[in-house]
């Protein structure tokens, strides 16, 4: 079938589905979306059910756009938008794009711009023809979110061509019958780090994640094997979440000529940009040659096609992707692949947290179908049970009180994304409820910026927390006690010599960043406490200190730690052994085969044995560089 036939067939099919009094001037794919251009955009907006009906019958996501020239003038549209949208929405910016007939509305309360079931948006279109896109003004200023939005606005024209190309590629008919699918492991098997997989069908190759390995910077995913090469012929990339052990080397793909889409959630796109730029920064500070430049980070952002939890998205002629909340960090997703037309369903868990946390709802484990699963096993060992969260939080409060009483400061190394925000919520509540003395909580490194990104996407947070963030006076992240360390080393020295406080600082495994200065400043004094709350990987300084080493070298300076050293588990973003088992036990439907990955040899071995013995699921414990065929 030629492209022309496809296009006119498609036009005809849409024409058939649309009531005859509505115009269908043109129909185009933009990435996974079907865009209908019409001279009667206003009339389309009158029928509130029509779009949903079209999406269901065409099995595509559908967008309506006015044909150029059929919408009112920008001045008139501005007026109408300000009239229709209630003032409480607080519109911060309007950006009109005449070529596509779109208007970007940035507001503090986007829900009020959208209206009940989209009624306000439809009202706007009905009156002016322009098609509104609504984004939230982050409650905390975030340079990342701002930069990403500005950048995407600049690149809007090029992006349209890109989306048209992608659309053409993914909406053709598959060339070959889908009679097998395969998964090749490029990393994170019998190890934690460098997550990367290839999902192949007879027509398509999708790369899932492309991370680094903390503590072993040279060990990158096996991208040079033929299953992944040439990278230019990979059809799509899917990113489960922004942590560097899943995302660090995505920009490298662009350096090697990949120019296709990355499917992920919006918050993951922004967080990945933040973390990748920091990754380059750390590499160059440590005298390593960064594997790519910031230009490729921007390229990755430019090529990202955002998907929302639960949206079924075509990413290839024979693959539909649905991302679901994984409960691990902001925007983290479990990727469900429906391959062929009913042929097979494969789920990549990404990193998951099964139970709800303060920040996120628990990982989704309900799918329409799921024959096989690639499951993380970070805490897969028999005895990998984490302390109950309440007990962990009580222990943290106790350690803080004890340190405060000794006139000391508590230093907590934390990942910028995830653990820090969880801790912030714990500390904010403890101070609010007077369970610990109120004192300054200093955020150093990227923690404040990462937190701001959280507030820009409240819909990805746990139900109750979302509401609190949307009301300024209840937003826990902007409580007074949180203070950004923005004065460099002099400010750190001042803080260190001052009153008792709490320091949250990156990196989380003491492999670089401002935490090094904090340990140097506070570690030698016995009144202070160094408190670990996250997984310390093999080979990191964090692991060595946690294991009892007190003579350390920090960026050239030798010193002996006399501070109290404590570890509290229970704040992990990962399900523990019990959580992993429960996740599988309660999974609906229960998969027939599970590959246990993203855990060391013992963890994957013990988890795969247990799942086989208890649930009679065929389990595997892959090595890197193996290929599994399904079914």
């Amino acid at each position: 079938m030629s492209d022309d036939t496809t296009h006119s067939d498609l036009h005809e099919r849409v024409r058939d589905e649309v009531p005859s009094h509505l115009d269908v001037t043109d129909v185009q794919f933009e990435g996974p979306d079907l865009v209908i251009y019409t001279e009667t955009a206003q009339k389309f907006a009158e029928d509130s059910d029509l779009l949903g009906q079209l999406a269901r019958s065409l099995r595509k996501r559908v967008t309506i756009r006015p044909v150029s020239g059929t919408h009112s003038s920008i001045e008139e549209a501005e007026q109408v938008i300000h009239d229709v949208v209630p003032d409480e929405a607080t519109i911060r910016d309007l950006e009109f794009h005449p070529t596509t007939g779109e208007v970007l509305i940035e507001a503090e309360k986007p829900g009020l711009v959208i209206g009940q079931r989209g009624s306000t948006i439809r009202e706007i279109t009905k009156n002016v023809g322009w098609h509104p896109e609504v984004v939230r003004t982050p409650p905390m200023e975030s340079s990342t979110v701002e930069n990403v939005r500005n950048y995407l606005t600049q690149e809007r024209a090029e992006r349209r061509d890109f989306l048209a190309d992608v659309g053409q590629q993914i909406h053709g008919s598959p060339e070959k019958d889908v009679d097998w699918i395969r998964v090749t492991t490029l990393g994170c098997c019998r190890e934690v780090g460098r997550a990367s997989f290839v999902l192949h069908t007879p027509n398509t190759r999708v790369l899932i994640d492309c991370g680094d390995k903390p503590g072993a910077e040279g060990e990158v995913p096996y991208l040079h094997v033929p299953e992944a090469m040439p990278l230019t012929e990979i059809d799509a990339v899917v990113l489960t979440h922004a942590h560097l052990d899943h995302s660090a080397l995505l920009p490298l793909l662009f350096k090697y000529g990949y120019d296709g889409p990355i499917y992920t959630t919006e918050p993951t796109r922004d967080l990945m940009g933040l973390l990748q730029l920091d990754y380059l920064d750390v590499a160059s500070k440590e005298g390593r040659t960064p594997p790519y430049s910031s230009e490729q980070v921007r390229q990755a952002i430019k090529r990202t096609i955002p998907v929302e939890y639960g949206d079924v998205t075509d990413i290839a002629p024979d693959i539909k992707l649905t991302m679901h909340n994984a409960g691990h960090i902001l925007g983290s997703a479990t990727a469900h692949f429906h391959v062929g037309d009913g042929f097979y369903n494969l789920v990549f868990s990404g990193d998951i947290h099964h139970e709800p946390t303060r920040l996120f709802n628990g990982a989704v484990n309900n799918f329409p179908r799921a024959e096989a699963m690639v499951l993380e096993s970070t805490y897969g060992r028999q005895n990998d049970y984490q302390t109950d969260t309440e007990k962990s939080e009580a222990r943290v409060r106790q350690i803080i009180r004890e340190t405060y009483d000794r006139d000391g400061t508590v230093v907590i190394p934390a990942f910028a994304v995830g653990r820090s925000q969880e801790l912030m919520l714990v500390l904010e509540e403890a101070m609010r409820e007077d369970e610990i003395p109120t004192m300054p909580i200093y955020l150093d490194g990227m923690i404040r910026e990462a937190t701001a990104i959280h507030t820009a996407y409240p819909e990805y947070l746990r139900d109750g927390l979302r509401q609190r963030i949307l009301h300024e006076d209840e937003n826990p992240f902007i409580a007074d006690q949180f203070q950004q360390v923005d004065g460099g080393q002099p400010m750190r020295e001042e803080i260190a010599s001052g009153e008792p406080s709490i320091i949250l600082s990156t990196s989380g495994m003491v492999t670089g960043g401002p935490i090094m200065s904090w340990i140097e400043l506070l570690g030698p004094d016995s009144e202070n406490t160094l408190l670990f709350v996250g997984y310390q990987a093999e080979g990191t300084l964090g692991r060595r200190i946690e294991s009892g080493r007190t003579d350390v070298t920090l960026e050239g300076t030798h010193l002996t730690l006399h501070c109290r050293i404590e570890s509290v588990s229970g704040f992990s973003g990962h399900a523990d052994r019990e959580g992993l088992e429960q996740y599988v036990e309660e999974m609906n439907p229960r998969p027939e085969r599970i590959l246990c990955v993203h855990g060391d040899e013992q963890a994957t071995d013990q988890l795969s044995s247990a799942l086989y013995q208890k649930h009679n699921i065929r389990t595997h414990q892959p090595k890197n560089l193996e290929t599994f065929r399904f079914p």
Copy 2:
């Protein structure tokens, strides 16, 4: 290291190893061989141990050639050769190649040309400087052997360049450390047919076998997956034996641009040419488009680098290949790969027969090292025990006698290669010893030609048989009762209406060829017998008839079989279940991991379970398109 450095380093190393009174003008690689060009070829020949010493210290196969112009004239050399070689050797042809200083000597008794431990050859070189290569005049005329030899002679100049290129490629230093090896299954997993594997290291990709699937012509190996693509970048091909389910699609590689070496034994090279040309012939007779042309068959022959059983051959900078007798058909081999410098050893069994047969010694299962094995499982089911050979032979004799007594003819469908020669030996002996009446045995299809190829390579046959073939009056294959059907359909009709006889005809699974005519002519009459002696694959007419079907359609003609239909097992070229277990049990060293392939789902499942349970070997039952990593 640049090529120049390598070359001068090599020259220096050889210079160091060679006694100083001998000249080393140049040193070159020709494929896996190291060739020393010298002005003192005569003196090299004086030291009978020198070549062996050089080979051991350089760990290469070594050949000495005179520098052009340092050997005597062709006339003088002819004279000396005829003087030095005893007349009983019966020299048939001398072919001088002045550019390489080689002389090809074809003789009926090549052993007498070579002399005790090469003494006669050395004598020739010592006197004339020319380097002799010795080949056997086949005791039965074989157009295949003749054509292959003529063709290789014509292409000698191009072949030298090819060998120089290959030599350069395989004798460089490996670029990357060998820290993994992998095997990808492209076919013959949970099925019999389309054998094909990729063996990868970080530097090298080797394709092992590339066969078709009898009874399912469309199902070819998965050559289009990235592990095999692009075929132009495969470094080497290794062929275990000539049967079409291992060799049929090798020429296709050349159609798709592969232009590298095929490593296999000399008889396999010739048999593969014979069978591939027949494969094309059958395809076009059946109205299928042949996947390649005879030009590509010639190309495959031209690119073959013969290896002998037991010779350690470099085939890549990080892989050494040793082929060992597999006992299955003429030239069949088990391929042992030594990867990296001591890193890992992997054995591909090919098809094996563990016990000696009339034709061949039993399969070799002794290796210096063997950590993993890819094992055929054709008869891997629990109850796949074959009748004891003596009983099988007695049963065949009984069936022949009974048919003869009823004045009938016995029709035996047989593979041209292997089963036919085994049967010929059984029948010749039975007639010689009067256990069955002497009557004509008609050979139809390629059986006679295949037999002639057997006689051209007697060193590949079982110890006792080899001697008999070399003495004309004892050569069982040229006994009077064997008659070639060379008169087409009229001759077949005459035979069918004549006295009782025995017919051996291809194809072995009744999928085409002259057997179709024989069944049409003889099947409807109840005095005749149709006797199956080989494996009948799923989907073949042979399998349907063997399973009791008597209404058949043969090339458009419907008929009902009234003849007696019998099957006698025990003539298989494959080890039965007991043989497979014994092969593994007695294997030295016992491998740590075994992949059970080349058998249907039940066979591979049952064999892999049994080997695991009895010997605690980690076994797998791969599917096609999977990749296994070692160690």
